[in-house]
Symmetry: C3
Subunit: 350 residues, 3 copies
Amino acid sequence: MEFPRYVGSMRGRHFLNTNDFTRDEIEEVLRVARDLREKYRSRVPTPYLSGKTLFMLFYNRSLRTRNSFEAGMFQLAGHAHFLSPQDVYTPTLPEDMIPYQTESIADVARVLSRYGDGIAIRIYGDAAKWHIGRGHRVIQEFAKWSSVPVLNMEDDLYHPFQALADIMAISDVAPNPSGKKFVVSYAYSGGLKPLAVPQSCVLIGTMFGMDVVLAHPKGFELEEGVMRACRENVARYGGSFTVVNDLRTAFEGADFVYPKAWSPRAFFPPYNNRVDKEGAVEYQNRFKDWICNQDLMDLTNRAKYMHCGPADRGQEVTDDVIDNMSYSLYFEQAENRLHVQKAVMSMVMG
Amino acid sequence: MEFPRYVGSMRGRHFLNTNDFTRDEIEEVLRVARDLREKYRSRVPTPYLSGKTLFMLFYNRSLRTRNSFEAGMFQLAGHAHFLSPQDVYTPTLPEDMIPYQTESIADVARVLSRYGDGIAIRIYGDAAKWHIGRGHRVIQEFAKWSSVPVLNMEDDLYHPFQALADIMAISDVAPNPSGKKFVVSYAYSGGLKPLAVPQSCVLIGTMFGMDVVLAHPKGFELEEGVMRACRENVARYGGSFTVVNDLRTAFEGADFVYPKAWSPRAFFPPYNNRVDKEGAVEYQNRFKDWICNQDLMDLTNRAKYMHCGPADRGQEVTDDVIDNMSYSLYFEQAENRLHVQKAVMSMVMG
Amino acid sequence: MEFPRYVGSMRGRHFLNTNDFTRDEIEEVLRVARDLREKYRSRVPTPYLSGKTLFMLFYNRSLRTRNSFEAGMFQLAGHAHFLSPQDVYTPTLPEDMIPYQTESIADVARVLSRYGDGIAIRIYGDAAKWHIGRGHRVIQEFAKWSSVPVLNMEDDLYHPFQALADIMAISDVAPNPSGKKFVVSYAYSGGLKPLAVPQSCVLIGTMFGMDVVLAHPKGFELEEGVMRACRENVARYGGSFTVVNDLRTAFEGADFVYPKAWSPRAFFPPYNNRVDKEGAVEYQNRFKDWICNQDLMDLTNRAKYMHCGPADRGQEVTDDVIDNMSYSLYFEQAENRLHVQKAVMSMVMG
């Protein structure tokens, strides 16, 4: 069987953040994802990673990510290992080593590189000690030592495969997303969520020349490095990037809305001298009115509703919105995870 | 490779309870299972689910079920994901949602339906809060929302794949089981077991026109819906269905005996206003003499001994009975699990 | 595709201890491992266990073993199940049964034998109750009842696949290891480790006619049965076997050094009437100067450094030694695990 040219076309590259790639490269990923989606739906075999193994290290729970990576590897004729940190000697940064329970990431990455073809990691929140950026450092440490591609399955800064699935869903609706108004907004949840999804959303939206509006209450600022990267994307790819602190203003005339909880960073290191979860929850509880409901949707330009899942129903969004299949992209986004991941894996591991 | 006609012959159907199917359909499942057993033993490849994925959600422990489903999918050239509830956001009924730990079954079922080809679930006991019927409702909820077949790997009402393995073992010995005396009896255990196995046993026995005798102490009644379905089976398929409260009477002249523990339902909702495990254990401890031993076997018509496993040796059965390979079908029943499950999966997922 | 003659050449044999095999057999395993290593590196498909299933029971954590067995089975076109004891009914020796949580090994082994093609087990330490030899008895019990090959993934007496990987690494450097000085020495760790690795090391070294020097403080004696087997190996295969209680003496002129922690046996049954972990830790804390550093390496005949991993850096060995790729075989040993395991599996399960 002759393989498509894209198999192995980015051989050996890590995938930690969409913004590490050019827009041309990301557009090629989407083309590949659409090819794989079409083949999946019509049951055309795609054994592009035959005999290859992906090691998946999950420091956090997962439904979509785990199942789409594991099923995706199998659909590519490969195999994925599901690894819980407690089943291995937890791979750990040098400063966090605990004798007899942990093993240095440098050693783990080099050993796994000898057994297989890719290493995928999810780490944020408690697993990254709520020190913002530490989860990403873990993944960077893997990338430093691994001789096979490292894939970011969501850390505390980025969720690049979600962003790919999102822009694929957007461009399914609007083949040229330039100039479309894309609202990435805070929405209330009682839980503590990482910054990864909103940060990857504004990065991918600005890369595609959209008019990106980031909406959040004061105290929910994103990382300065991400804000700067978004402004650079605007300079390079067109569109605009604005921040507002009001949900109704944000939603007016929007084409796509992505209301999603994240945590107020001021309560966590390095912005605070300790992890203050209680303070963070108490603070965010002031914003229970940041819920996406039909009233808000009525302000938009018949916008599509988006969420990475799992959505906190009744907090982030009302049931009538998320379940309104005339404008909710919720399940399309989830499905696209499968296809974009198979695309990147085919390209970097093929 | 040309596939047998049975592959996909029941495409898309859920498998929650044997009694949802006609006797003709179940007999076809058994023919397929025997074909697959023959091919397995002679190492004939059976890639009937090539490239297909089964998601297995285990809320409870399992040896036979997990390994026979996972190995079975692989033998059919497919792949099974082993999912613990704690590894995903626990899929949950609407009334049981806990923010940030659970996800609605409606969402989980629809997402998984986009990634693969079948969803199998085991849930009973603590995982179903000992509210009898709640485990089955969880599986029904999956079936309601899933667009791929849902398979019942044992809930608190039914264990349909065990029943298939059992009737396969019975009909290996007695090709026409009609008129054979099949005793499904309570046997003592200190543990608390669901009603699933005895209920599925009496349902399958009556479907095959056997003379089914249900034996248990007072307080161990089965669900009224199951009793009614058994009487309807008798009306439709012949045979008989009687209940006795005495073990010796039951065993006299029996051809097959299936002594197995379950829990007295009066101590659990909806038959009690609270879950009273201590009361149930205390009550069932009165029946330690309900043990299957050689004395009892001597009353039978050289009956075959049956148990779904794991058997509580020394409580439900003596070692000399279960390990007597001249009449114990224990390992045949366990082995048949592999073949009947491959049969149903080939038929509904192919 | 025609398979190599070695596939199935030891069909049906268990692999519990290298010393259960002759040197000729072990040398054949190494030849096969090198063939498979070459094919892996040049991406030649090796579907020698197509459609076959390995059940892996891990009572203890693992990075190398789990991933090399699971990836190895996949590279041979087979499939491995990762089984935690808590996910199944923990398979247990007769004297350790706990109703409703455990299942007899006799039953588990016979059931799994009907579903697949091999059973691999790791058990030592807490899982074997620190009664030295009990972990090995568990594996022997599996071997007694299983009708498919049983593989020892490390118990409390032996780690045979590690020994194979080690002698492969040694003979990569010294094609004829006879007469090379091989030092297996204690090295300090704060943790409690089993005797498996040093015991399998001295066994494999003496089988290959090396001048094996075992170095440890008093109190760290190995099992008498192992010592006797080593002396018998010397009688049969040449070389020598000596014990010293001093690290510097041992290292002088060494060609290969393998400094590795294990536990002082006098604190554990059957050498003690109770498990005394605190006593063991306190005792071994006297030997913190048993660390492999550059000073010691300078005493050797430009020796290669060896360790099975994970190494306790700063206790067993200094970073500058283990990370000195000019003489550290650390990652080669880890990689060889993949190849020797695929070799044995091809031979016994093919």
